[in-house]
Amino acid sequence: MRKWPISLIAIAIFAMAIAGISALKQEPLYHTQSYVFGTLVDISIYGEPEERAKQLANQVLQDFQNLHNQLHAWKPASSNQPSELGTLNTAFANGNKPINISPQLATMLIDATDLSVKSQGLFNPAIGHLVSSWGFQRDEFTAVNIDDAKIQALVKANPRMTDIVVKDNTAYSTNPNVKLDLGGYAKGYALDKAAEYLRNQQVKNALVNIGGNIIALGQHGNQPWRVGIQHPRKPAAIAALDLADGWAVGTSGDYQRYFTLNGKRYCHIIDPNSGYPVQHTQSVTVLIPPQKNAGVLSDVASKPIFIAVAEDKARTAAMLDIQYFMVIDQQSNIVVSNALAQKLEWLDPEVKKNSHVKLVTLP
C-alpha cells in the first residue's frame, strides 16, 4: 500500500492551496466607503493601526463634507444656511459690488480662472446658468425640455471666469450672467486637501477616491497602488494601472450623469461654446504626475479634452501640459497617448483581442 501516502499528500497540497486562497493573510489595510452628498468616497489606508486609520478617514470625510457645504452652488441664498458660493452667486447676479469671501475660496477662484484661461475657456465653471437649464445640478437627472432659444441666450451672455475680479479676499463679477459651478473642480480640490492632510498626519500609504478621482500616497505594501479605469459601456474596468506616490488619475465620462431623450444621450459635460452636452465622446482619462495640485488637475484637465473635437483633443491636452491621456469616442475607438499606453494594462477582453486601440503620440 505504498501508493496511499503519495495520494494523500497530493490531496493535502490541494487542500492547502484552497486554504491559502481562502485565508488570504490579513493585511494592515483599512478600507472604508461613504456617501457624501451623492458622491462615493472610498479611502484605503495601509500600515496604520485600525483605530487611527478610522479617525483619519473620518476626518477626510468631514473635511469633504464641509467643503461641499461651502461650495454647494445650488442652495439659494434665501434659505437659512446659504453656502458661501451661493451667496457669491447671488451677489454676482445683483451687480458688481465686491463682497467678502474666504481666503480659501479666493485661492480656488484664482486657480480655476488660471486653468480656464489655459484651456481657452473649455473648462468654464462660470456657466452655472447653463448647467441648471439642463437640470444637471440635481442629484438625479431627468430629461428636460430643451429650450434652444434660452440656451443660445445663455451662451451669448458669455459668462467667463475672467469676468470675476478677486482682490484682497473680495470678489465681484463684471458680468451678471456669471454663475459659479465648481462641480468640475471641487472633487479634485478635496483630493489635494485630503492628500495634504494625510501627509501632515505622517500617513505614508493611502489611496483616496472621491467620486472617481483618485490620488495615491505611498504604496499598498510592497506593491504600488493599483487602480482600475471604468469601461464607459460595461460594468467592468477596461484597464488597470499602477498609481505611484503622488500620482492622481481622473476620468470624465458620459455614463455617470446623463439623461436620454429621443434615443440621444445628454451627459453632464456641456460645451461652453455651444451650450449643449458633448455627444462625440464616451470618456477621457487623464493621469497626473506628482505636483502640488495633482488632484485638481485630475478633475479639471479631462473636461477640455472631452469637449474638444477629435482632431483637437491632442492639442488641447498639450495646452494643459497633459502627457498621459486616453480618449474613448462614441464609436468606442480608443486613443491613448504613448506615455499612458506604456502604463496601462488592458483588462477588457474585447480590447485585448481586437486591439482597436489607436496610439497617438503628442507633437
Binding site: L24, Q33, G38, G212, G250, T285, L347
Partner: protein, 132 residues
C-alpha cells in the same frame, strides 16, 4: 480472499485501450472543471454596501432575490448562478439596473441615489480602487 490484504502492486500492464481513453477523457474533464470553476476572475461572493456600512456578503452560487432598504427605498438584488445584478431600484435614472449582470471579481455596480453598491469579490481583486 486474504490476497486483498497483501499489498498488490498496481501495474499498468492490465490497461486496455478503452481504459486509456477513459483516463484521457477524465483528465480532460478534470482540467476543464479546473478552468471553468477555478479561474482567478471567477467571483465567489457579492458584497452589498448600504451607505458606509457593509450590509452583507452573499455567495454567488445560488438563485435568490435580496430586498435591500437603501436611502430612498427598497432595491431588489438578483443573484443567479455566479452572477448578480440590480433587478429593481427606486432611483429615477435606473443606471444601476441598466448596468446589467456582474460576473467577474472586481466588478461593481453603484446606485448613488439609493446609496447601495454591489461589488464582486473573489480570490483576487485586480485593483485597489476604481477610477470612473
Amino acid at each position: 480472499m486474504l490476497s486483498l490484504l497483501r499489498s498488490p502492486k498496481p501495474t499498468f500492464k492490465h490497461m486496455l485501450i478503452g481504459d486509456w481513453l477513459t483516463i484521457i477523457f477524465s483528465v480532460m474533464l478534470t482540467v476543464y472543471l479546473f478552468q471553468t470553476l477555478w479561474s482567478h476572475e471567477h467571483a465567489s461572493k457579492v458584497q452589498i454596501r448600504i451607505g458606509d456600512k457593509v450590509y452583507a456578503a452573499y455567495d454567488l452560487n445560488q438563485q435568490r432575490d435580496i430586498k435591500v432598504h437603501g436611502a430612498i427605498g427598497d432595491a431588489v438584488i438578483h443573484i443567479s448562478q455566479g452572477k448578480v445584478r440590480f433587478s429593481k431600484s427606486p432611483c429615477h435614472n435606473q443606471y444601476c439596473v441598466h448596468q446589467g449582470w456582474l460576473t467577474r471579481s472586481g466588478q461593481a455596480a453603484i446606485c448613488l441615489p439609493n446609496q447601495i453598491s454591489l461589488e464582486l469579490i473573489g480570490e483576487q481583486k485586480p485593483y485597489d480602487s476604481l477610477n470612473y
